[in-house]
């Protein structure tokens, strides 16, 4: 009797010999599934169990920060489109600011767009919006709404492309798979320009028409908050996000020394 017991290990005693292979396959499958779901579970944990933080506030823009340049062409188009007035553009200057977070800690790889169909429209021989932040991996649609041709292109190292000439109602798309700044132009209208900011996380915001910005769902941690404008030197503030915390942070662009010292 004793001898017979020695011939069986513990698991052999519990599991029939035929089922051992099934168990091994099942374990491997579970481990694979766990590896696949780990990033999602990590985020879910950050977002649900420990809570995320929110950043919001009002952006104040220095009057000198107008990105609108005088529109002048030596040779007008055959079918020139009326440009938006400077007054309209001035009120939209907030839209040319991007508030975004940077973290020294490693963050998940956000390889999908968190925006619904990021788009740049060509209207009135102008790109709208002038500044578009997207997450790395996003596909941006360039829609022509003018009754004339446009030819969108960029020679940026981050992304080089030329969409050729296409008419009203037609859109073409480009996927941005590297982080960086991509200046976009039109071959036919040299004063048309836009900037696409390709960021590595979705924690960014463009202020609304009243200058309010909101960044939600930020995982707890230490961040650098950057207020970016094409005519502003980079300046940033340090901010600590705690679970469930809603931080109000008003920002002047360019960021002033006072704001820097407050932090």
């Amino acid at each position: 009797m004793e001898t017979e017991l020695k011939n069986y290990s513990f698991d052999e005693a519990l599991i029939p010999r035929v089922g051992r292979w099934y168990l091994a396959v099942f374990i491997y499958l579970c481990m694979g599934l766990l590896l696949l779901l780990l990033p999602c579970l990590t985020q879910a944990e950050v977002g649900l169990s420990t809570g995320t933080g929110t950043l919001h506030g009002k952006v104040r823009v220095t009057k000198r920060l107008i990105s609108q340049r005088m529109r002048f062409r030596l040779y007008q188009s055959v079918h020139p489109q009326p440009p938006p007035t400077i007054e309209e553009e001035r009120s939209d200057e907030w839209r040319n600011i991007v508030i975004y977070l940077e973290s020294k800690a490693s963050m998940p790889d956000f390889q999908e767009s968190h925006q619904a169909n990021p788009q740049i429209i060509q209207l009135g021989e102008t790109f709208f919006p002038h500044v578009l932040p997207v997450v790395k991996g996003s596909t941006v649609e360039f829609l022509n709404e003018d009754p004339i041709f446009h030819n969108v292109f960029s020679l940026s190292r981050t992304k080089s492309f030329d969409l050729g000439r296409y008419p009203k109602g037609v859109s073409k798309s480009v996927t941005f798979d590297k982080t960086g700044i991509v200046p976009v132009f039109c071959h036919l209208h040299s004063d048309m320009s836009a900037i696409i900011m390709v960021l590595n996380n979705p924690y960014f915001s463009v202020p609304d028409s009243e200058g309010q910005y909101l960044i939600e769902g930020v995982p707890p941690g230490s961040y650098t908050i950057v207020a970016w404008h094409e005519r502003s030197e980079r300046a940033d503030l340090q901010v600590e996000i705690k679970p469930g915390e809603d931080i109000e942070l008003n920002i002047t662009v360019p960021i002033t020394d006072e704001e820097t010292s407050e932090q």
């Binding site: 005088m70 002048f72 030596l74 009326p82 020679l155 000439r165 008419p167």
Partner: protein, 381 residues
Amino acid sequence: MKKRLSNNLDEGRIFGQPALWLFALFIGLTSQLTVAQEKFLIEGIFDTELYNTDASSRLLARNDGDISTLLRLQLWSAFQVSPKLQIFAMGEFEFDNSSSRSETESELEQLALRYSSNTNPFYYVEAGKLLSPAGSASRHSLSTLNWLIGQPNAYYISYPWGIRVAGSRGKLDYRLALLDSPVIVAQYLPDPSAAYRPALNFGLTLFTGLRFGASYTKGPYLNRQLGDYLLPGDSWRDFDQRILGFDVQFSRGYFELNGELIFSKYDVPFQSKTTDGTDYYLEMKYTWTPRFYGAVRFERNKSVFISHLMGMSWLAQDVEVNDVEISLGYRFNPNTQIKLAYRRDYWDGKDARMTLFPDGHSLAVQLSHQFDLMSWFVKKL
């Protein structure tokens, strides 16, 4: 290798070095008045060209066939008086070491007031020294807009004084002008005196990317000094130039095409018949990659040559030439590009005078850089 044209004899006295001072003063004053880029701009293009040509072609030869260079700076400035009103000026400085013109030249090319409507349909009115609205070649004469290095032979760029109204309504567009100078080919016609004439240009855009245009102008082309060599009772103003032109632009995707056809008629002193010319060109461009493109232009001219010889003797004849240019372009960035072009001309005619017009060729490299001068001084906040 842009060909320069003095629009008329009177103008030559006005625009020499004083024009430069006027332009500099304009830039200096306005830059003191405003620094905001939303009200004021100074932009320009700097071109460096290198040529290796044959030694004898009338059209293409430079520096007796030795390598020659050309440096050109074009500067333009505009000031926005109000959202609808702009004043602008454009000047050119050129250093050319080809044997015929080894010198530095400067010229005030444009100085005008522009009123732009903010309505739809859009229109604008310009008054002053303007780019001639005749034809469409001059509209892409800047090196950054020109697909090749050379310009069409029969379409010399001119900057007459006058007033122009332009705009569009639906598929139609128009440019109506009253100008003081004819459209001429320098050295083929006498330098003209100022005399106002209409210039009309209408276009029909069948669909986005395909436009047909037609233009017409009629007016005197001689100068008042030549009035001494006409029949008693005749005036230099009685001898007209009539130009009827047609043009087409087509583009789709990465392909672009421009073409023009011009019929010209000239009244010639002591001749009962007009002397006629016919010129046309077709140019195409294809963009292979965001940086790399190629272009070709074929041109055929039956150009009118009219000259006062002596006394009551006048010469009127036509000269025929075929010209082809092919180029490759590469963009370093949105503002800087380089072009390499080969050009060849073939002169028609079997008679003896054609020995005076040997065929020629040219190999050229052009580096162009467009800049925004204001951005150099506007620091980030």
